[in-house]
């Protein structure tokens, strides 16, 4: 592991030690976050799978009966039949926070049932009625699926990002800091030792000089 390019001084040592502490604390926190996000994700993903299976089956059926209906009706009258919807979907959208990921929350406001079938029964076949009543029931599920699937998407993204952060801290930042701290302490100790040796040498020299002087005086 490469060490950081810093001067081996006491001041650097202090800042590095602080940074190491911070990195370790952050690492622990992010790891906890990863655990919790995965747990949340598991709750949602199962629901997501179940809902999607249901919705896919139902939609295909509804669309098939619509196809059947359009086979026996002229395209113009078909379009005319569906183009005046009795109501429009009103959603209530907000967002909530799951582990600091903003995820959507939607509730569908049940429209006041004015008229589910916006056409005269005489002009189109009964398959259309089936198709439309199925679809309008499906809409609630569809909205739910949209919410959950988006939540899963965002959580998956977040988990991936978070894992990168954890790994970067664990395998790059922290070892690098530790290595550099070790390097600086060693360098400082080395300096200290060489200082002591120098002192001893100087002391010896001085003593020698004093002895010589004393002898010269005699």
């Amino acid at each position: 592991m490469t060490r950081l390019n810093v001067n081996p001084t006491r001041m650097e040592l202090r800042t590095l030690k602080d940074r190491l502490n911070m990195a370790i604390r952050g690492h622990k926190l992010l790891k906890d976050k990863a655990d919790e996000t995965v747990r949340q994700f598991m709750l949602y993903i199962r629901e997501n799978k179940r809902l999607r299976e249901e919705v896919e089956k139902d939609i295909s059926e509804a669309l098939k009966s619509f196809l059947l209906a359009s086979a026996v009706t002229s395209p113009e009258s078909m379009e005319e039949a569906v183009s005046m919807a009795g109501f429009s979907v009103e959603l209530e959208t907000s967002s909530k926070n799951i582990m600091s990921v903003p995820v959507p929350v939607i509730s569908i406001t049940p429209s006041e049932k004015k008229e589910l079938y916006p056409y005269s029964f005489a002009s189109v076949s009964s398959e259309l009625d089936m198709s439309i009543s199925n679809l309008s029931e499906l809409l609630v599920k569809l909205v739910e699926l949209a919410e959950i699937e988006k939540t899963c998407n965002m959580l998956a993204d977040e988990i991936e990002k978070n894992r990168r952060r954890v790994n970067a801290l664990e395998y790059v930042m922290i070892p690098q800091l530790q290595e550099t701290i070790k390097y600086i302490t060693m360098k400082l100790d080395e300096n200290e030792r060489s200082n002591i040796v120098r002192m001893m040498k100087v002391k010896e020299l001085i003593e020698k000089a004093e002895k010589q002087e004393a002898e010269n005086k005699k």
Binding site: R46, L67, L128, I132, E147, D157
Partner: protein, 107 residues
């Protein structure tokens, strides 16, 4: 936020027409560029955008741009030809990205 809290659907005309009757706004498209343009336009104001699988697969790169924000939600749905497994594939790729292994038995 200037979202109008409504649903929109993008796809081939035959596939999306029945949604019109239940109050979803329909945006029929016929080819790739039209789908991209429509999606960009619709994404500004609608909260939920349904898009049929055949088009969702084609304009995946555009859809991916809306991944990071909670809204709009872009949801692929099967068309009348039945499910192609595209939606399920998305779920399993989510699982793989998040956990590393596909623990739900989705093909």
């Amino acid at each position: 936020m200037d979202r109008n809290n409504k649903m929109a659907i993008i796809g081939q005309k035959d596939n999306i027409l029945p949604f019109k009757a239940v109050g979803v706004e329909t945006f029929p498209v016929t080819h790739y560029f039209e789908a991209v343009e429509t999606l960009k336009k619709v994404a500004r104001s609608y909260s939920i955008i349904l898009i049929t699988e055949d088009f969702a697969k084609k304009i995946e790169d555009v859809i991916d741009r809306y991944r990071t924000k909670p809204y709009p939600i872009i949801l692929p749905i099967p068309s009348a030809q039945g499910s192609t497994g595209y939606g399920m594939k998305n779920i399993s790729s989510n699982v793989e990205r998040a956990i590393g292994v596909n623990i739900l038995d989705i093909k």
